[in-house]
Amino acid sequence: MSAAPTAVDARRSLVPETVLEVEGLFKHFPLPRGLVGALLGRPGRVVHAVDGVSFTLGRGEILALVGESGCGKTTTALSLMGLLPASAGSIRFNGQDVTHLSGRPDGAARATVAALDGAAYRREPSVFPSLTLKRLRRQIQMIFQDPYESLNPRATVYEAVAEPLEVHGLEPDSESRLARVCRALEDSGLKPAQAFLGRLPHELSGGQRQRVVIAGALVLEPSLIIADEPVSMLDVSIRADILNLLDDLRTRRGISILYITHDLGTAACFTDRIAVMYLGRIVEIGPTRRVLADPQHPYTRALLSVVPVPNPRLRRKRLILSGETPNPIDLPSGCRFRPRCPVAVDRCAVVDPGLTLVGEGHQAACVLVEGDRPAAT
């Protein structure tokens, strides 16, 4: 699955292999100015949580979105889910523009046209979809970080996994609903499903709880699962099981997975491509092996050098950056990584680099790699 360049070609967006296309996504949170500020006419300040993110995700592909806290990865995920309306940019799911669905207060359907005219559809897809926000959410499911918090403590496993069906009014017949829930539970590795149906979350281990959450995500048969730190709160010895389960789902059912994490180690071992985020932007993206073997962006290099490795004989030079990630409100001029960058040059204060192709399917946003390569717009 080759990664498409960020430039969106309208025709290419209809290729069914691309499940998700994000182009120039922005999400800004305005800060209240206060009375004095408003009176003095000061411009409002803004939290640049997501500040121009573009990437694609193919069918059956696993993309890791990696970054430290505050880099905007979770905000990106929430925007993709439609839980946060995007400030700007576009999100295309299976070729259809779904960016502004969440802007409608009741998720009402757009105008539908009786006959689906192929050519007209290609010219202006946004007129046609009868895709409402609710129906979109059947296709994209999200798994959250804390298995102890993702489930209502007073709801049984059956109720938790059946909830998506209930919300969407599917399978009203309780027998078929039960069957579907059991199937989802078994697909998540909880066998026999019947033994788990009546249990409450506190009676299950962390790993089992996370499997229940995954079953809840599977029951609607989605094509995309966004997993936000699905294993960080689990014991190390059972993480592999959950990650292997996700890998399995991709292989057997062609589900695409967006794996969000701060843990480069797990991102390294089961994802196809990796995107590194910093202060609301993707600074490097490419096939996982290649990015790890030959990181081009200084931030990626620094991160990789400090990730602890269980090998005491490997003494690497640790590029420990000083300070903390600055707040996303007052961004530095030029490249946003400049204040902490160990190899910044004068030009970095002036130019805000975009992603440049540095290898096949591999891009980095750094002034220093721009030099002799053609820029991808």
Binding site: G265, C269, A302, V306
Partner: protein, 327 residues
């Protein structure tokens, strides 16, 4: 860093139980290890293995149901378990201090950080008043890399990494010889984690501290520790130098645990998980506690709990199968 020969802390056969309505939880059983001046010991294990309980036992800070039922904890030769409560208070923080798990989130939000550090000083009579503690507070903050001018700020004005540094400063307030850090980097970003570990290494070098780093993260231990003690289900599984543990692990649990950790230097290695669950400490099986999950289990393991044995010079483990043919 040179490690002194005579042990600063000598824990022998420590056993701690929790007495509750649901039975007696044998949280720590027959734990022994030594800590020398300037040594960095990693105490590794997953949740529920007893590592935090063991450390709380050493400091005698167990919660209501905890009972230390056996063993000695010798600090500079003296058994601190035999001390009176008042004497123990003098040992606590002055000789040995602890950075609790998640402590950085337990700072009092309505008092300044400087005030809270000063509290440790005043309580232990190292400064007569909060005001006079100010100078030492400034020193401590500079020591951990925080600008001393920030002493008057409140915890919410500090970032996560800075709060953790403040907790380290608090732990160092009375010049202890031993600092126990319980999961100091778990909630932190990778870069901040690296900063904190670097700080701990530097402090160890400058102050000659001995540090016990309690964590579930084997990779972190590999980066900074001299010796490693792996715990499972409340007992010592393996205790050896860091090099030995990683390059020649002997206990089956240690081996499996190493394979469960992603290694960036070998990204193609497939992650393994250990089937099953840690044992319930109030319903322990007879025999080895790891037997239900061990790939190398034999009948003897289920019946007879393996004793702590010195299987090589300087290495201890609890396993029947080590040194049999082909292990």
């Amino acid at each position: 860093m040179e490690i002194d020969a005579s042990p600063l802390l000598d824990v022998r056969h420590l056993s701690t139980h929790f007495v509750t309505d649901e039975g007696v939880f044998r949280a720590v059983e027959d734990l022994s290890f030594q800590l020398r001046r300037g040594e960095f010991l990693g105490l590794v294990g997953e949740s529920g293995c007893g590592k935090t309980t063991a450390m709380l036992s050493v400091l005698r800070l167990l919660p209501a149901a905890g009972r230390i039922v056996a063993g000695e904890v010798r600090l500079e030769g003296e058994d601190i378990l035999a001390l009176e409560a008042a004497e123990m208070r003098r040992v606590r923080w002055r000789k040995m201090s602890i950075i609790f798990q998640g402590a950085m989130n337990a700072l009092n939000p309505v008092r300044s950080v400087g005030d809270q550090i000063a509290e440790a000083l005043v309580l232990h009579e190292m400064a007569p008043t909060y005001h006079q503690a100010g100078k030492r507070v400034a020193e401590l903050l500079e020591l951990v890399g925080i600008d001393a001018a920030r002493a008057d700020q409140y915890p919410h004005q500090y970032s996560g990494g800075m709060r953790q540094r403040a907790m380290i400063a608090m732990a160092l307030a009375c010049n202890p010889q031993i600092v126990i850090a319980d999961e100091p980097t778990t909630a932190l970003d990778v870069m901040i984690q690296a900063q904190i570990l670097e700080l701990l290494e530097r402090l160890q070098g400058e102050l000659g501290l001995a540090v016990i780093l309690v964590t579930h993260d084997l990779s972190v231990v590999a980066e900074v520790c001299h010796n490693v003690l792996v715990m499972y289900g409340g007992v010592l599984a393996e205790y050896a130098t860091v090099d030995a543990i990683y390059n020649e692990p002997l206990h089956p649990y240690t081996r499996l645990l190493l394979e469960a950790f992603p290694d960036l230097s070998r990204p193609d290695a497939r992650l393994v998980s250990i089937p099953g669950q840690p044992p319930r400490l109030n319903a322990l099986p007879a025999g080895c506690r790891f037997a239900p999950r061990c790939p190398m289990v034999i009948d003897r393991c289920r019946v007879e709990a393996p004793p702590v044995r010195q299987v090589r010079p300087g290495r201890w483990a609890t396993c029947h199968r080590i040194d049999e043919e082909g292990v």
